[in-house]
């Protein structure tokens, strides 16, 4: 049993995080009027700080900030379109020029090997899609947990 009065830090710990205090401290406070008073005073202080009016800006911060943000430019996605067209052309030309070779390769490859390769590719794609969805859900969860956005 603790006989000396508790330190200020111990009293604060008892009031702010009672679950963190040892049983010995709790027993002492239950039997000590002096420490009970000090704990009650700290409790009152904590409650008063909590209930104290929160500061607020006397201007519309959101409007002020949004006015200063750069307006996004609507640009036509030329780069994306050019890359897509180039890719389609490349694949088509390769298919036309190398068709005889590809035809021979496909015919000489066992059906089982082709099926296995395709299945593996599809499985990899499914896993990647799952990973993307999981990652997206994790991000949304973080935002919702933060109570920042009502999505």
């Amino acid at each position: 049993m603790i006989t000396a009065h508790l330190t200020d830090a111990e009293i604060q710990l008892y009031v702010a995080e009672s679950e963190m205090t040892s049983d010995q401290l709790r027993i002492h406070i239950q039997d000590c009027v002096n420490c009970q008073t000090r704990a009650a005073n700290y409790q009152l202080l904590f409650n008063s700080i909590h209930d104290h009016a929160k500061p607020q800006f006397n201007f519309d911060l959101s409007t002020l900030v949004l006015e200063q943000l750069p307006v996004p430019k609507r640009v036509f996605p030329w780069t994306g379109i050019l890359v897509s067209v180039f890719s389609v052309l490349l694949i088509s030309l390769s298919a036309i020029f190398f068709w005889s070779i590809m035809d021979t390769v496909i015919r000489s490859t066992p059906l089982l090997l082709i099926a296995t390769t395709l299945t593996a590719a599809v499985i990899i794609l499914i896993f990647q899609a799952f990973e993307m969805v999981k990652n997206h859900q994790k991000q949304i969860h973080t935002l919702l947990n933060a109570k920042i956005l009502q999505l």
């Binding site: 200020d8 009152l44 104290h52 929160k54 911060l61 943000l69």
Partner: protein, 180 residues
């Protein structure tokens, strides 16, 4: 939003400006500078939104930006963030007689606390009043405050303990002066 949607960003401002207000009011004394700093915080946040890695809450991330912006301002103005109480960090207690002190404490805390609190909080050093507000008013955990301020969790806890003690001692001292 992470692609820079201005209107979605508006809702982020609305939801987090309380935290930013808390920090700017506690760390910056000039109302004009507070306005500039609050805007600066969100302009920085918008600019770096793509850098948000979802490793912490969005509010914590914005809190970090607000804290660092205020800290930079204080450094520029050469203002003290905290007091120095020697190496052991002991805060001197008022020299009241123990019995009188307990009696005084009871009276002060039950009657005049609300009146004195605002003035006394304002007189604390910027870091102390910020930490106290984040813990007691914004109800952030020690870990979240540590993340915002980039201070070790133990240091945050220690500073909050000190700040409360200083606050209590100052309230008692003021009451004693008023009585004389």
């Amino acid at each position: 939003m992470l692609n820079g949607d201005r209107y979605a960003f508006g809702s982020i401002i609305k939801k987090t400006e309380g935290l930013v207000a808390q920090m700017t009011f506690k760390m910056i004394s000039s109302p004009g500078d507070r306005k500039d700093i609050a805007q600066d915080v969100y302009l920085k946040a918008f600019k770096n939104l793509r850098g948000f890695k979802f490793q912490s809450k969005l509010s914590t991330w914005i809190g970090q930006i607000a804290y660092n912006t205020c800290l930079h301002y204080l450094e520029k103005k050469k203002l003290l963030l905290i007091d120095n109480f020697g190496e052991d960090g002991e805060i001197p207690e008022n020299n009241f007689n123990k019995d009188v002190r307990n009696d005084t404490e009871e009276k002060v805390f039950s009657k005049e606390l609300a009146d004195m609190l605002h003035t006394e909080i304002e007189q604390l050093k910027p870091l102390y009043k910020t930490l106290i507000s984040l813990y007691h008013q914004e109800e952030l955990s020690y870990a979240e405050i540590a993340e915002i301020t980039s201070l070790p969790e133990g240091t945050v806890k220690n500073y909050i303990f000190r700040a409360r003690k200083i606050l209590k001692e100052n309230i008692l001292l003021k009451h004693k002066r008023n009585e004389l």
